[in-house]
């Protein structure tokens, strides 16, 4: 072993250690060492065990064992792949590295299964509903004149779309004031009582939706004697949405910086002025997100509506009288029928419902993603744009003004 020393000017006469000769170093700029990234052997091990697993499964399924169906083959191939990959890696690496690789493969596989299944559910719904979706009458007519044997060119779901919109509007009219004011109460008046309210609300967040429906059925319909109607359904949706909205608004309101509140109070503002001018504007985008997410949950629930709204095949715009159907309930009733056209209508309705949920969700992301910093950046950009436009119009205007007075003079 040799020890390298820095070349010293006053070196002893007989050095025991030898400095490496300058030509031993590779010439040219030093190559940067790669710290991360996959090695070629890793990739080869993955691909190789994958190919081997598929080949072995094919051999097993076609020659050796009576294996039927795609899921069974996939399951066997997965197990074989993990085994083969573990063996292959253990040829080069020690035990901790092998465990690491196996866990990595498993975690990737599980995540892939979840995301692929969820994506497949969406695609499956769209594909099965594709035969109903292109017909314009699907969005313009109700089902009152369409029998179960009618083709897809008659009948539609406008009654369900209208019902969903009416019910969710009433539910929002109830839940937004009540929910946001309760969330403000939880953050602004802390104490034993508000802690109790918070605990109850948190426990209610996962209230089974059928129980919400049953509750409204017991109170509004059996006790107060309301009809099975859109209004009763929106009450049930409200009971279900309220805890979700309060909980997420509460989280958002608690994130408002204390310094802002203290500054406002320090400037002499009262509690009401502070909440109205500081707390609510600061958390506006978060509150909007909370409301929209609760709306998305409320739109998609079937079971509270099932008990409270009744079912009709015709358009009913009056929430107080008569049954009113909503999108999830319409899906539920469509697919009860054995007719393929009705099932296609059910899937088409599901596609419309999912589209509605996705649109709400995207709006929530856009609104919720707005921070004061991005808003400020956008404001600055807008102002710069306005200024440049103004400058240009001013330049053009000065040309105009040079022209206009002359015209006026001509007119006069």
């Amino acid at each position: 072993m040799t020890t390298t020393l820095p070349p010293a000017p006053t070196a002893p006469a007989a050095p025991r250690t030898v400095t490496p000769a300058p030509e031993a170093r590779p010439s040219g700029p030093e190559r940067r060492r790669e710290l991360s990234g996959t090695r070629i052997t890793d990739a080869l091990a993955l691909v190789g065990s994958g190919v081997a697993a598929i080949a072995l499964t094919a051999l097993l399924a076609s020659q050796l064992a009576p294996i039927q169906g795609v899921p069974a083959c996939v399951a066997i191939a997965t197990v074989l792949f993990v085994l083969l990959y573990g063996t292959l890696v253990s040829l080069d690496e020690d035990a901790p590295a092998v465990r690491d690789r196996l866990v990595m493969v498993t975690v990737h596989g599980l995540a892939f299964v979840v995301l692929a299944t969820l994506a497949f559910i969406v695609v499956f719904t769209l594909a099965r509903g594709a035969s109903a979706l292109p017909h314009l009458n699907f969005y313009r007519e109700d089902m009152s004149l369409a029998g179960p044997l009618d083709p897809l060119t008659t009948g539609g779901i406008v009654h369900a779309i209208a019902g969903t919109l009416i019910q969710i509007t009433i539910a929002l009219a109830i839940t937004i004031p009540l929910g946001v004011s309760t969330a403000v109460f939880l953050t602004e008046i802390p104490g034993r009582f508000s802690r109790f309210v918070r605990t109850v609300v948190e426990a209610m967040t996962a209230l089974p939706s059928i129980v919400a429906g049953l509750f409204i059925y017991a109170t509004a319909i059996l006790t107060l004697g309301l009809d099975k109607s859109g209004f009763a359904a929106s009450l049930a949706i409200s009971v279900m949405m309220l805890p979700i909205m309060i909980r997420s608004s509460d989280v958002v309101l608690r994130l408002v910086p204390h310094t802002l509140k203290e500054a406002s109070i320090g400037l002499g503002a009262g509690q009401w002025k502070t909440v109205w001018n500081v707390v609510l504007p600061t958390s506006r985008s978060g509150l909007t997100t909370a409301i929209i997410l609760a709306t998305a949950r409320g739109i998609g629930e079937t079971s509270p509506v099932l008990l409270t709204s009744g079912f009709t095949a015709s358009l009913n715009l009056d929430p107080l009288h008569g049954p009113m159907v909503s999108l999830p309930l319409a899906i539920f009733q469509f697919v009860k029928s054995p007719e393929p056209t009705m099932i296609a209508r059910g899937f088409g309705t599901a596609a419309v419902l999912m589209l509605l949920v996705v649109v709400l969700f995207v709006i929530a992301r856009i609104v919720g993603g707005q921070t004061p910093a991005t808003k400020e950046r956008r404001r600055v950009r807008r102002e710069r744009l306005v200024r440049s436009v103004r400058a240009r119009t001013a330049a053009a205007g000065s040309n105009l003004t040079r022209l206009v007075p002359s015209r006026r003079q001509e007119k006069s």
């Binding site: 069974a72 399951a75 901790p96 990595m104 004011s181 109460f185 059928i210 049953l214 994130l255």
Partner: protein
């Protein structure tokens, strides 16, 4: 401010301004204890003998000023309104339980304790109980949690540890979106796709594990590979898998949140000591996230117990205790309510209310436990 003179030092004038503001702000005492502390400290510094120009009586004992709360009328109205909102919500939530109890009372009085042990549902002849549906609900939830736990754990670990940084926020949004997919859509998928494809796995499980009572199937001979697959449809197993897919996103998002909060110092420490990524996860992330995993699982369990429509669409209801997970026919409390509320007589309705009350109490207990566990694992403030 009226007492301030031009000759007094700057900081004393500042102190006065602060104090004046606090005097006029009626809410400072109750809303921000921190501000109150600051003001008291300022008071004591302001009345030290060095700055006697400020104080009225320099010989007065050095006591903290009492801050009284005089609220403006607008604040009184505001506090009253939001308090009323809170009380209103509390009343609604307490009404849910009490009204169900009120409506269920006749049925509970008729059936007595046998309500929990009877396996039939004939309320009009007084012979009804939820023993069968309790077992069905619990088995469906069990299958759902067994499906969802590994999937959610893997996805959460993938998002927090393995996914490329650029993909991460997109994946988080995707999982949150999936949590908002309506349950009726999951039900459609279960009925029209999963049911037809999973019976081969059911059959295989029944063949391999036919000695285990839970997986035995009456009417399917394990030695005969050509038995009809109809005994495997509409089973607890299929309903449980669909519900499991439904609760996976919400469990994933809670677990991911807890995993991402695992302290960076410990993570880097583990890596610097030479551990592999799995070593780091096992030594740091998983112990830190144990509470989150348990809490998320229990929240998922609560959801699975209460799920109605997807279960209702898949199962074919029976009212005897069905231990055989893979076999056709099962039942759950929520599906029972959805199935029978339409033709229910007043007695039948009362019996359904009693079943709903039981479901409500069970989910309440599960949720309380879950939120307690999650709250403890998150260390409070940012839940």
């Amino acid at each position: 401010m009226s007492r301030s003179t031009s000759g007094q030092p700057l900081d004393a004038r500042l102190v006065h301004r602060v104090l004046g503001a606090f005097d006029r702000s009626p809410a400072c005492r109750t809303t921000c204890p921190r501000a109150e502390r600051i003001s008291r400290r300022t008071v004591t510094t302001a009345t030290t003998p060095d700055e006697t120009a400020v104080a009225d009586d320099p010989t007065a004992p050095d006591e903290p000023r009492r801050l009284s709360t005089r609220r403006a009328p607008s604040d009184v109205i505001f506090r009253g309104t939001i308090r009323a909102g809170g009380i209103c919500v509390l009343v609604i939530m307490l009404f849910v339980g009490s009204f169900l109890l009120l409506r269920a009372w006749p049925a509970l009085r008729t059936a007595g304790l046998s309500f929990l042990t009877t396996q039939a549902w004939e309320p009009d002849s007084g012979n009804f109980g939820i023993a069968a549906v309790i077992v069905g609900t619990a088995l469906i939830a069990l299958v759902a949690v067994c499906t969802a736990l590994p999937l959610a754990l893997g996805t959460a670990l993938y998002i927090s540890e393995y996914a490329p940084r650029r993909l991460r926020s997109g994946l988080v949004a995707l999982v949150d979106l999936m949590a908002a997919i309506p349950s009726v859509v999951f039900g459609l998928w279960g009925v029209f796709f999963l049911q037809g494809h999973i019976t081969s796995i059911s059959q295989w499980l029944a063949t391999v594990l036919h000695r285990v009572p839970l997986f035995r199937v009456d009417g399917a001979d394990p030695s005969d590979p050509l038995t009809s697959t109809t005994v495997f449809t509409s089973s607890t197993f299929i309903a449980g898998i669909v519900v499991g897919m439904m609760i996976t996103p919400i469990m994933t998002s809670i677990m991911r949140e807890v995993f991402m909060q695992a302290p960076i110092g410990e993570r880097e420490g583990a890596l610097a000591l030479g551990s592999t990524r799995w070593g780091m996860i096992r030594a740091v992330v998983l112990p830190y996230g144990t509470g989150g995993i348990i809490g998320a699982t229990m929240l998922g369990l609560g959801r699975a117990l209460g799920e109605t429509i997807a279960v209702y669409m898949i199962i074919s209801p029976v009212f005897v205790i069905q231990w055989h997970v893979l076999q056709n026919g099962t039942s759950s409390i929520s599906a029972l309510i959805a199935l029978r509320y339409g033709e229910a007589t007043p007695t039948g309705m009362a019996a359904l209310m009693a079943a709903g009350l039981f479901l409500f109490l069970v989910t309440l207990v599960v949720n309380f436990a879950a939120s307690a566990v999650v709250a403890r694992s998150r260390s409070g403030a940012n839940s």
